[in-house]
């Protein structure tokens, strides 16, 4: 309301016009250098990107404490639950291992959602893509035999990735060819995948021999993601997926900000009209973006099956594909942000389990806190209003002679 809607006269425009006369004077080389110098503006942005999630986490924990108080949990129990949360997430080597283990599928699937989001697509289907990817990985992991690990494991992971990618590409294709919105189609594909999983787990070539309940055969040893810290303690669950996760972060960062394809994604996401005018083929871009997003989710499913679970069971994805939406949102669809957000959610997950054990507070409280974090991150103005001191601008030197 306080800004005029037309293109002129808004404060920001005026600002750039006045400041902008910088290359009127001076020689051309200086002017070029000035244009290419890093800007101060980005620093302010960076501060906000870091501060808002931190403030959001703090306030979410605070409200979590208030809720516990309102349900007459003793203050010392609340304190103990927070201590347990810290202890269970970062308090020991095992805790850190658990945190990172939990963050691997969150980050992988979150990267896919964030990438799709950058391309202007809302991929709600990570859960389903994880299911089909994980299931495919499981099938390949026990049905292909006689391969050495160096071949078998990559084959398993790639098959999970491919199937997840193909599954998501269905939604992309429907959007591109018929205009069916990907939110609707990915939700439906989620439902299909979950039922498909239940159905297939009872099929003889998948179901574990001698069992009547739906459970797959076990992943062969040659297809297991090796545990990284077993030389210290065989119970530490952190597995090789950690490197898949870090590699994916770097790869997606490169894709989005360095590659031609990623630039096309970002143009399509920010301004589909400009993308069309720039000669970018909208349909193809949508299908490819969805396929990559689904591939990452499929890989997340495969990593979960071969690194943690050792088999596929009904609901083995445990809602990670949905939590990953929150991770992508919290990480502002930036690969590094998603990594940090995924590790935070992994920590809440691991800490929450400890909280339940030590303080007897239900793990549901963790879900509430996660949801609160997302609400605060989605409403940055609210955070700024509640904690204005964090975002107060230092007085600018040039304020008097603008």
């Amino acid at each position: 309301m306080t800004r005029s809607s037309d293109t002129h006269g808004s404060p920001r425009n005026d600002g750039n016009q006045h400041n902008g006369s910088s290359h009127d004077g001076g020689n051309a080389v200086d002017s070029l250098r000035a244009l290419l110098a890093p800007t101060i503006d980005t620093r302010g942005n960076l501060r906000e990107i870091i501060l808002i999630p931190l403030a959001a986490v703090f306030m979410a924990l605070l409200i979590g404490a208030l809720i516990m108080m309102a349900t007459s949990v003793e203050p010392h129990i609340i304190l103990r639950s927070f201590v347990a949360m810290a202890d269970g997430s970062v308090g020991s080597l095992n805790a850190i291992s658990e945190t990172l283990t939990a963050s691997i599928p969150l980050v992988l699937a979150g990267l896919g959602i964030g990438l799709a989001f950058r391309a202007g697509l809302f991929n709600i289907g990570a859960e389903g893509q994880m299911v089909v990817g994980g299931l495919m990985a499981a099938v390949v992991s026990f049905s292909v035999t006689g391969l050495p690990m160096a071949l078998h494991l990559p084959l398993v992971l790639v098959s999970g990735l491919l199937v997840g990618g193909l599954y998501a590409a269905i939604a992309g294709f429907l959007r591109a060819a018929t205009g069916a919105h990907e939110v609707i189609s990915t939700i439906m594909l989620n439902l299909i995948s979950i039922r498909l999983l239940d159905y297939l787990l009872r099929q003889p070539f998948i179901q574990k021999e001698g069992r009547s309940d739906p459970i797959s055969k076990a992943v062969l040893e040659t297809a297991e993601l090796p545990r990284l810290l077993s030389f210290i303690d065989p119970n530490l669950r952190l597995h090789f997926g950690l490197f898949l996760m870090l590699g994916a972060v770097i790869l997606i960062y490169w894709l989005l900000y360095r590659s031609k394809l990623g630039f096309a994604f970002r143009i399509s996401g920010e301004n589909p009209d400009a993308a069309r005018y720039a000669g970018i083929r909208a349909g193809l871009t949508i299908v490819i973006a969805m396929a990559i997003a689904g591939g990452l989710a499929g890989l997340a499913g495969a990593a979960q099956v071969t690194g943690v679970l050792g088999r596929a069971t009904p609901g083995f994805t445990a809602g990670i594909g949905f939590d990953a939406i929150a991770v992508a949102l919290l990480g502002r669809s930036h690969p590094v942000g998603i990594l940090l957000a995924g590790v935070l959610f992994g920590a809440l997950e691991a800490g929450g389990r400890q909280m339940q054990v030590d303080a007897g507070v239900s793990i549901d409280m963790i879900s509430i806190i996660q949801a609160l974090i997302i609400i605060f991150v989605a409403a940055p103005l609210l955070v700024k209003r509640i904690m204005p001191f964090l975002f107060a601008d230092r007085p600018k030197e040039d304020a008097d002679h603008g």
Partner: protein
């Protein structure tokens, strides 16, 4: 009612948008407020309409200081603003739009539409506005929609009308009619503030003029005492040349040749009907016409954004009818889109990113599958200097630039590579005088370098200024062609063709 602004200052952060501005707005007078984009006109009017509170200075109504805490206060005081972008409900009738928010009610608080209609019609008749009361807004031409906006403020008994760039959306004929209404309002005792950056309009309609530059009043007086050149110099701060100074064209071969091109849109309506036209190397061809007569579709057919139903698009002797946007781009067709914000740029991207928006895949900035951003940034910086794009850095978001600088950025991107045909659609819409001059010079330079240039503009002056040949479009057809190379074509005849006079002759 007279309004006096006394020493109004308004600052946003480090930017002084208005500095010590004093204005006299008098009853029965049209005050022209002239200034480039970003000069502070809109800020000043937002202060007057209560959207902003000034940091210092007073607003006096008939000598009494007043304070506006919001738009409601200013409307109650009798100030009415007609925005550049209409704020109408398309599926409501004229009367419904006019009364929205101040509905007259009868017994038991029921809406009294009959009384409302009478009131609206009375205002209508008084100022000769000729607006039908019961037609839906979406069925009315833009010129009439604008009158509905004026009806709205008059219905709220405004004595002071602020008109923000009112002629931007009108055809020459509509402008004439609109000026008639403005004069009728003035003669009825209304005070009118007419905001524009078009000099000839000020000279024609304003009784007084004030010129704003960089937030300050830099001059003013009775418009007839100034020439257009004087006003322009005051507005820009340096002498501005109006005639582009284009030499005689030396046209060569056909670069673009449309052969009976027909285009049908998604709802199966014929948008272009058997268009036959050409643009030669070393020549500027202008397309004149009232907006919405197929110009947009013509550009889409040439640039490959929309498929044609029949006919051929020939480029330098090759049939490109089936070529994609990118293929045509690579062949050397540059496109300056009619709406830069909507389709010509990405506001959230940096200037550097915008500069390679449609060439990022090209070997000039890409290495394999990767974009060489260092090279792209250096090229962008060089292009900013060459095309006078005023930004402190190529790493700033393009959305923060003024309209003129955004447009120069788009022009730079399109012209800074080997092109043979430039399709420039509304190349200077919403752009300040200084940038208009610059962009025009660039287009002429492009022609002189032996390229074909096609300009589509709803500003007839721009077409007449730049073009060597002029086609007039009406209802999806080319209805007239004029030679404009040695002497200027007959403005009146073009105007008539734009209004559809030649339709039968050509059909």
């Amino acid at each position: 009612m007279n309004i006096e602004l006394r020493g109004i200052s308004k600052r946003f952060g480090s930017v002084q948008a208005n500095r010590n501005i004093s204005l006299d707005i008098r009853a029965s007078e049209v005050l022209g407020l002239l200034g480039e984009n970003g000069a502070g006109k809109s800020t000043l009017m937002n202060v007057l309409s209560g959207l902003y509170q000034p940091d210092s200075g007073d607003i006096l109504i008939d000598g009494t200081p007043v304070r506006f805490d919001g738009p409601g206060d200013s409307i109650a005081a009798g100030i009415g603003m007609v925005h550049q972008h209409f704020m109408l409900v398309p599926v409501f009738s004229v009367v419904e739009n006019v009364i929205l928010g101040v509905e007259p009610t009868g017994s038991a608080d029921f809406l009294d539409l009959a009384a409302a209609r009478d009131q609206v019609q009375a205002i209508n008749a008084r100022y000769g506005m000729d607006v039908p009361s019961d037609v839906l807004i979406e069925d009315l031409p833009v010129g009439i929609q604008q009158r509905v906006e004026i009806l709205k403020v008059l219905f709220r008994s405004a004595d002071v009308l602020i008109l923000d760039e009112p002629t931007a959306v009108l055809t020459p004929q509509e402008v004439e009619a609109f000026f008639g209404i403005v004069r009728a309002l003035r003669d009825a005792g209304k005070a009118i503030v007419f905001i524009t950056h078009k000099l000839h309009e000020i000279i024609e309609i304003a009784d007084k003029v004030s010129v704003l530059r960089q937030g300050e009043i830099v001059g003013g007086g009775v418009p007839s005492e100034f020439s257009e050149a004087d006003l322009a110099e005051m507005m820009v701060g340096r002498p501005v040349s109006f005639s582009v100074g284009r030499g005689t064209a030396t046209p060569g071969e056909d670069v673009l040749d449309l052969r009976d091109v027909t285009l049908v849109d998604a709802s199966l309506e014929v948008r272009l009907h058997q268009i036959a036209m050409s643009v030669r190397a070393g020549e500027i061809v202008g397309i004149a016409g009232v907006q919405g007569n197929g110009q947009t579709e013509l550009v889409e057919a040439i640039t490959g954004l929309a498929p044609v139903a029949s006919g051929q698009v020939m480029f330098a002797g090759t049939d490109i009818t089936a070529s994609s946007v990118r293929q045509r781009h690579c062949m050397g067709i540059a496109h300056i889109p009619e709406d830069r914000q909507k389709s010509g740029m990405v506001s959230a991207f940096t200037v550097a990113e915008n500069m390679v928006l449609n060439s990022y895949y090209d070997d000039s900035v890409a290495r394999g599958v990767q974009i060489d951003w260092h090279r792209a940034e250096e090229q962008a910086a060089a292009a900013c200097l060459k095309f006078d794009v005023r930004t402190p850095s190529v790493f700033l978001d393009a959305g923060g630039l003024s309209g003129g600088n955004q447009q120069k950025m788009v022009v730079a991107r399109e012209l800074e590579r080997g092109v043979r045909l430039v399709v420039a659609s509304q190349p200077t819409r919403g752009v300040d005088v200084g940038s208009i001059e610059f962009i025009h010079k660039q287009l002429v330079a492009c022609r002189d370098a032996g390229n074909a240039v096609l300009i589509i503009s709803s500003e007839l002056d721009e077409i007449l200024d730049l073009s060597d040949r002029i086609y007039v479009m009406y209802e999806g057809q080319i209805t007239a062609e004029f030679d404009n190379s040695s002497s200027q074509a007959d403005r009146g005849a073009i105007g008539l063709a734009m209004a559809g006079a030649n339709r039968t002759a050509a059909a």
